[in-house]
Amino acid sequence: MHNQSAALQHDPWRLESLDDLNKLKEQLEQKIDPDHPEIVVCHGTGCLANGSEAVSDAIQTALSDSGIKAKVIPGIKTTGCQGFCSRGPLVLIRPQGIFYQRVKPKDAGDIIEKTVAQGEIIDRLLYKDPQSGEKIVHEEDIPFYKLQDRKVLHNIGKIDPTNIDDSIIAGGYQALAKALTTMTPEKVVKEVEISGLRGRGGAGFPAGRKWRSALQAIEKKGRPVYVVVNGDEGDPGAFMDRTIMEGDPHAVLEGLILGAYALGAEQGFLYVRAEYPLAIKHLTIAMEQARAYGLLGENILNSGFSFDVRINRGAGAFVCGESTALFTSIEGKPGNPKPKYVRSVEEGLWGRPTVLNNVETWANIPLIIDKGGEWYNKIGVSHSTGTKVFSLVGKVNNVGLVEVPMGLPLSDIVEKIGGGVPGGAPFKAVQTGGPSGGCIPHSLKDTAVDFDSLTKAGSMMGSGAMIVMDDTDCVVDLGRYFLRFLEEESCGKCMPCRFGLSRMREILDGFSEGRGTQADIDDLLSLSEAIQDGALCALGSSAPNPVLTTIRYFKEEYLAHVESQKCPAGVCKDLITFQIDPDNCTGCTSCARKCPTGCISGDKKEPHTINADECIRCGICRESCKFDAIRVI
């Protein structure tokens, strides 16, 4: 890993005190003119996949080619994920805050020549609010951003994650310097306790209490103690932690160093799944740069406190996000969970006291230390303080990453920030908490999104994935999807999980193939209870949740599969037939041309028909029909 300080504009020097850090910050700030134009291109994984690298290259080229007539030459900055992934690639023009979306490389010339040089707004690149139909120029006026409360994500989308100076200007490492110079380790633990911060990884265990228990374990067993970041985010549809690691790696590092200071740890581990190469790259660069400044490593800020950290890459097993499996993986053994009859704060990595928190939890720590536990405690609701980052995916207009205070009604997140379901119909259900969570129906749309309310509704906060579903999503199919995922991802050590999940999925297969019975529903409930009670780790014991909540809230849909052999959502192929409504069909032949089996026939401008025997129920005809003439029965 050479040349990683390349992004720094000067040779890094070792900072010896809080004063040094502040002096550096001042120096850096002086070099910056807040009114200087800047073109910010989102380089989060979502936008990169949509071609944002080509966009920033094109803007760079357009800038050099234009022989710019503007008085000042704009800077170009690439940042982490700005959150509005479904609209990417995103380009923001500062200082005006002009927000361009779905930008293509061919738009680069216009952006430079019109917007930057002449201040002209390019109408075709503006965001159009699907609800009001109005075009919006500025980022802060877009409902998706306006209704959020970005605290953990504050710097993401603003700073260049590969440049520590950018982070320092934004206030990075201030909390660390404050703690090292003015706070005892005990005081740091106390602030985290006061904040009420609960772990963002799933179960929501209070972070302060975990740290306190670790201190008690250290009293008995002595040091070493380890601090570990769980960056093995693997829930389908979840990308909160990835975004934080990619977009503001210093926040995670700073939080971890603060935790290490509080507990007296000398070694930390970042366990990041190998599928997150950009996160690993940015964290590695961040570590190198922090070491160069003396913010990580020996004798941090000349305080006598030394701490270093290394990255362990996960090798692709979902179960390694489970604490004990994560530890065995770091220890170099197969990532199998162990029974947790002794807590990991007492016996974690190599049998030593260990504090494991997830990425988002660690990224909250600098905020708490900087502004105080009391300040943090006032955000959100009691027992669920602070903000929470959610990834909003599925049948929702504004797919992306949002951060809101805890306790907001589910409908606010899905309908106001998310913009509701495309087409305007109400959502059918929202799956929260990934494969371990549950399905919350539209009738509970006012459920407050906090740890306890979600648990009461039969779901869980989980790490924060929200999958929105509409009337064309089948709950039986949802259950099968998550069970198939988990039966592959189960470590297979304990039998309730290894056998049980496959057997549950087989029973659900029966429903979707028209073989389900009322007795099967009872067996599913009873087998689910056995798996919840019997499985060795949380992967297994929470696996039945999607099935249990869908039976609880959508039993009539299961019964429709049994009694009338119908799939109301039109998903389970064995239970549906496609027909053409002759009143709506105009005979445009679009469906007949696209049908992969050629089973649609009819004369031009006359209603067509589908031969049910040859139809494979792929649904391509329904998608291609512009006249709503294809019926699923």
Binding site: A317, V319, K338, P339, Y341, V342, E487, E488, E489, S490, C491, G492, K493, C494, M495, P496, R498, F499, G500, S502, R503, E506, D523, S526, L527, E529, A530, I531, D533, G534, A535, L536
Partner: protein, 200 residues
């Protein structure tokens, strides 16, 4: 000595004992498959689940690995325990249909049929891992591994490549609760570089 209760009966255990060890001492029957006194328990078959109760609160724990604590209340025959046991046995009947031992154990606990389809009528390995543990912990060789994960998990040589480090001591075959190791054994052993007679 640590005092606690199993099924409302006072029992005493030595420090470091598990609930299962104590129960055995008192002749209380708890079914097991992956447990053997020769190797460390892993709590993987979950047949030995018992209910730990404290007032209104309760949870199931694996007795083979749960350390005894002063004053705890353990129940070995409750509806929750029976539910877990019944489903595991029913699933084992379908997944290891060739095992006479499992059929007998299930029958003893009132499970005589299974609602699940049988995919492999010849299967009798339940992947309890005893063979792998005895080879690693007692013989000290690790000639056997439990490879892959989830539904693809299986017992064989490490990386499923026949190994010549196996000394054919037979410990794995002896410890196997269903006799499955007799057949798997041949897939573990590769051709030794020297005939066994010359090794001595």
């Amino acid at each position: 000595m640590i005092k606690f209760k199993i099924n409302d009966k006072e029992v005493e255990a030595r420090t470091g004992w598990t609930v299962l060890e104590t129960a055995k001492e008192y002749g209380i029957d708890i079914p097991t498959l992956c447990h053997h006194p020769a190797v460390a328990p892993t709590g993987s078959c979950r047949l030995c689940m018992v209910e730990l109760k404290e007032g209104d609160w309760s949870k199931l724990v694996a007795s083979c690995i749960y350390p005894v604590k002063e004053g705890i209340n353990i129940y070995t025959e409750t509806p929750k325990v029976h539910n877990v046991r019944r489903w595991i046995l029913e699933m084992l009947l379908a997944s290891c249909p060739a095992s006479e031992e499992i059929r007998k154990l299930a029958e003893k606990h009132g499970v005589v049929s299974t609602r699940f389809p049988i995919h492999d009528p010849d299967q009798n390995c339940l992947i309890c891992g005893l063979c792998q543990r005895v080879c690693e912990e007692v013989v000290g060789l690790s000639a056997i591994a439990v490879v892959d994960r989830g539904v693809h998990k299986k017992v064989g040589a490490p990386f499923l490549r026949p190994t010549d480090i196996c000394v054919a001591c037979g410990s794995c075959v002896t410890i196997c609760p269903t006799g499955a190791m007799q057949e798997i054994f041949d897939t573990v052993r590769g051709k030794p570089e020297l005939p066994l007679t010359q090794l001595a």
